[in-house]
Amino acid sequence: MKTRKKASKFKLKPLGLLAIFLSFFTWFIISDDGLKLISPVKFPPPTHVLNAIEFLNVKLLTDSISTIARVLFGLIVGTILGSIIGAVVVFSKKIGEFLHPLIESARPVPVIAMIPFFLMWFGIEEPGKLLLVTIGVFMLIVVNVSESIRNIPKIYIQAAQTLGASKYTIRRKILLPAVVPNMIGPLRVAIALTFTLVVAAEFMGAQSGIGYRILEARRLFNPQVIFLGIIQLGILASIFDFALRKFMAHLTRWSER
C-alpha cells in the first residue's frame, strides 16, 4: 500500500529560529544597547521596548482584546457574507449577471479611501470601524469564492449527477468540501488584510486598540511604544495565521497538500 506522509509544515526548523534570533541580535547590536549606531529616538533599543511593556502594563492586554475583537468580527462576518454572495453569484445566473459588474468595479477600490465617509457617518464610533474591515474582507472573499467554485473540476459534479445526487446534495457534499482547499490562500491573505484595516480603522480614531496606542505614542513621542505595538501586531497576526492553517489542515486532511 502506498501512503504519503504529510510534510510537517508547522514545525519551526532550527534554521528558521536562527533567522529570528539573528534579526533580534542585529537590532540589539546596532541600537543604543549595543554599538549605538542609530539614535534611540529613531529606532528604540530592546531595553526601551521592554520598559514600554512595563509602562503600558494592563493596557497591553486591553488594547490586544479590542484589536482582536475587531479582527474577529471583520474576518468572520466578511467571510460569511462574502462566501454566501460569492456562491449565489455562481449558482444563480440571473443574480450573477446582476451583481458581477458591480462587484468587479467596486473590488479594486481601496476601502481606506472611504474612511472620510465613515468618519462623517459614524464618527469614531465602533460601527464605522467594523464596517470598514468587513467590507474589505468581503470584497476579497466574494471573488475568491466565486472563482474557486468555478474551478472545481466538472467531472465531480457530473459523477455526482449520474449517481443520483440532487442540486442541494451536490452543493453540500461536493462543492463545499471541494472549495475548501482553494480558500486557504485567500483566507490567509484575508487575515493580513484584516489586521491592516483594523489598524487603519483605529488610526481614524478610537479609545483603545493597538493602532490607537501606536498613534497616541506618535503624538506623545514615544517610539518604544510604537515599536512594541508593531511587535504585538506581528505576534497576534502570526497566531491567527497559525490557527487558520491548523484548522484548514484538519478540514483538508484528505488532500495531498
Binding site: Q158, T162, W254
Partner: protein, 271 residues
Amino acid sequence: MLPFSGSNEVGGIILENSTILEFKDVNVEFDSEGKKTHALTNFNLDVNENEFVCIVGESGCGKTTALNLAAGLLKPSSGTVKMNGEVITGPDSTRAVVFQSDAVFPWMTVEENISFGPRSQGKDKNQIEKTVNQYLELIGLSEFRKSWPMTLSGGMRKRVDLARAYASNPKILLMDEPFGALDFILKENLQEQLRKLTAINKKTIIFITHDLEEALFLGDRVVVMTPRPGTIAKIVNCNFGEIRENNLRTSENFIEMRIELRKLMGKAPNL
C-alpha cells in the same frame, strides 16, 4: 456454434431481446471557432438489456460523444437517444458513468464514496450498509473502508470508482476508457474482474475504449467506429462465453477476430 444473435430461443419460442437504449439517426456537431466539426454522423445503435457493448475506435471517432449522449451530459444536434422508449433529457441515477480520469471524491473515504449513490437516492440505512460491505468485499478493499482515496494506488481508486457506480444500482453503466491510464498487467486483471462481475451481477454496460483487445475481451458486441466523420464501421458479436479468463487473449479465434477488425480501423497517419 451459432454466433450470438439479437434474439434468444427459449423452448422453441423466440423472444426478442428488449432494447433498453436506442440511438436513432444521431448527429452531433460542434462549433469551434466558427468551424463545424462532425463529432458523430448518422449514428444508429440499439443496446439490449444486460448486454455488454464495447465501442472501439481511435481518438476523434466520436466514441466519447456517444457515451456523453447516453449519460445525458450532451444533447444531439439531430436524432434521438432514448432509454426505455423515453428521450434522455439529462443525467440521472439510471445511468452511472465511470470516467477515464479519476473521479473518486477525494474528500470522502472509500466507504463514503461507495455509499454516495444509495445515500443520494435516500436508500434505507441497513440496505446501504449491506451494499457497501458487498462491494468492498468484491473489490477486495474491505480493510481500506475508512481510508482516504489519496492513500490508495491508481488501480485501487479505479476499483472504488467501479464499485461506486455499481452500488448506485443504475440500469445502465457507462464506462469511458476507465482503465486507460493504468499499466498493462493491472488493466488485464481488472478486465477479467469486470467480466466476472458482470456475469454475477447482470448489467447493461457501454464501454468505450481505443484498445481493440480490451473491447473483444469484454464485449458481448463490439462496435467499431471510424473518425472524420465519426461513424460506425461495423458491429460484431463476440461469442466467447460469460466468464472470460486471461488465456482467451491468446486463443486462435480471438486473435483472428482481432486481426480482422484491426484492418477496419485503418492505418496510423504518417508522422
